[in-house]
């Protein structure tokens, strides 16, 4: 029964990794680069959530508490978090894609976006550390320990809702990519951005949409993480995103459903690793697995024959 409980905990944790892994895989599939701003976005979303809920925003705290009240301040936190992430995503798009494309033609053929995204990660972490320090920060869970039990297995309501929400979002996203006009455009841009332009697709208007979608995935994941685990710090993005990268690689780069399976799997792997080898070593099995996959099956479980670009 203990093992089964661990499995459930792992699935719940994996649900949060899923969204981050899907965010990574979207940018890899479409723009062919590993977007290191994703950890920054996750962390920033979690931080905004914390700052709003604990009255640590640089401005607007009293105003938000007046509107939402002590009890519902988490809703304000989610809104602040989502709005700020959308804005930040658009700024990031400019510096990791648009200006590069304007200057070098096809930005995605260069390692440059990866480097500039790394720059964003470092800048964001240090802005947050400068403002709020690097110590762990706590929130009061807005839902207390709302749990239900099936037999002897314990489920937490926020976690179950998180997992369901995560899967629902990915399902919706996958539907959009597969069956809508926007999705066709996304896939065609992923494969041949210049040819998509010949069809009249305004690539420079659609790519920001992708950045906002990945930003939203990170934001929702960051918000849910904060609510569920109540403790965050400035490096939470690194901690979570590195595991999510392993999940994405396991599922196959650029494959949305692969990222789902991979994300859930690494969640379970992490929980079991903590149980077996302890929290200090938890990254070793996860990244060990990643190294093995890269050598023996670089396309992951569900990846196509080629790695990277244009593989939704």
């Amino acid at each position: 029964m203990l093992l089964l409980q661990q499995l459930i905990n792992g699935l719940m944790l994996g649900g949060l990794y899923v969204m981050v892994a899907v965010a990574f895989t979207l940018i890899i599939g479409m723009l062919n680069f590993l977007n290191f701003t994703i950890p920054a976005l996750f962390m920033f979303a979690a931080m905004m959530m914390w700052a709003t809920m604990t009255g640590n925003l640089p401005f607007g705290n009293d105003f938000l508490f007046a509107i939402f009240g002590e009890h519902n301040i988490w809703i304000a936190g989610a809104i602040v978090s989502i709005v700020s992430i959308c804005l930040v995503s658009l700024i990031i798009e400019r510096f990791t894609y648009r200006y590069m494309k304007a200057k070098y033609g096809d930005a995605t053929e260069h390692a440059l976006p990866l480097v500039s995204s790394l720059g964003f990660l470092i800048i964001f972490e240090h802005l947050v550390i400068g403002q709020w320090g690097s110590d762990p920060l706590q929130i009061e869970s807005p839902f207390g320990d709302a749990t239900f039990t099936i037999g002897t297995l314990i489920f937490s309501y926020p976690q179950v809702i998180s997992l369901a929400l995560s899967l629902a979002i990915v399902f919706l996203l996958s539907h959009v990519i597969r069956h809508t006009k926007l999705g066709r455009a996304l896939r065609s841009i992923a494969e041949r951005p210049d040819t998509a332009t010949l069809m009249g697709v305004d690539v420079l208007r659609i790519v920001p949409v992708v950045y906002v979608i990945t930003g939203l995935l990170c934001a929702i994941s960051g918000i849910l993480f904060t609510i569920n685990y109540t403790s965050i710090d400035a490096y939470i993005g690194d901690t979570v995103a590195t595991v999510a990268i392993a999940g994405m690689v396991l599922g196959g780069l650029g494959n949305v459903w692969g990222a789902v399976v991979g994300g859930l799997f690494v969640g379970i792997l992490e929980v079991f690793s903590i149980y077996i080898v302890g929290a200090d070593f938890v990254k070793v099995p996860i990244w060990g697995l990643l190294l093995l996959i890269l050598v023996f099956k670089p396309t992951g479980l569900f990846g196509h024959t080629a790695i990277g670009k244009g593989k939704f």
């Binding site: 066709r184 455009a185 065609s188 494969e191 210049d194 998509a196 010949l198 069809m199 009249g200 697709v201």
Partner: protein, 239 residues
């Protein structure tokens, strides 16, 4: 005049790819642009479509479109079939057609059905990934995709490249058919003989500049064509 481009210049850094070239094309006309590899043919097309930065004045269907971005030009009916076909192989055949109609929001059913009627090979594979198509079928799909944009002018960049002689003949038949149905066509080709046999007028580009222009009939008997095109007589006896 459907298309009137005056003194178009394209520069890539120090490379002056198109040098003060002026081309025009009337409603319902087929015009060919000839020239060797690197003569600037593709750059000229890209300048007309607006996918590269270009100087010059381009008017299309009576409107000055020089400052327009590519999507707006496509919407206005200036459509290109790119070199190498550039089919989206991760999309199905049908989705490729729908991508061609990106700029439109009206009903496409009659037009996609017309395409399938014209090309039964595409109809059979409409729900398969476009990667299963042969080279010739991909070219048909590329042209059909462009047709779905409801072009007033279709610009074809080296459509015969890599096709067998039989397929090349079918392709040129198709181009003539489309023209007979009223479509204006700008044909960039290295297959000089076929292009001149199909087009009414032609331009010859050399190192980015137009060195010859005139009626296709006159061009095909002009000895300067061979010189301009090949930079002197060479082993291309097939001309």
């Amino acid at each position: 005049m459907l298309l009137d481009a005056r003194e178009v210049n394209v520069r890539y850094g120090r490379n002056h790819a198109v040098k003060t070239a002026s081309v025009s094309l009337d409603h319902g006309e087929i015009v060919t642009v000839l020239g060797a590899n690197g003569a600037g043919k593709s750059s000229l097309l890209k300048a007309l479509l607006g996918t590269v930065r270009a100087e010059g004045r381009i008017s299309f269907d009576g409107t000055d479109i020089s400052g327009w971005a590519a999507p707006r030009r496509v919407k206005a009916g200036l459509v290109m079939v790119p070199e190498g076909r550039q089919i989206f192989v991760s999309l199905t055949v049908h989705e490729n057609l729908l991508m061609g109609a990106w700029c439109r929001n009206d009903d496409l059913e009659t037009e996609t059905e017309a395409v399938y009627e014209r090309f039964p090979n595409l109809a059979e594979r409409r729900h398969m990934p476009a990667s299963v198509l042969s080279g010739g079928e991909q070219q048909m799909l590329a042209i059909s995709r462009a047709l779905l944009a409801r072009p007033k002018l279709m610009m074809l960049d080296e459509p015969s490249l890599g096709l067998s002689p039989i397929l090349v003949r079918q392709l040129f038949d198709l181009i003539r058919d489309l023209n007979r149905e009223g479509l204006a066509i700008m044909l960039v080709e290295q297959n000089t003989r076929m292009a001149l046999a199909t087009a009414e007028r032609g331009y010859v580009l050399e190192l980015g500049a137009i060195v010859l222009k005139g009626r296709a009939k006159d061009l095909s008997s002009d000895s300067r064509l061979e010189e301009a095109y090949l930079g002197g007589k060479s082993d291309r006896a097939s001309l």
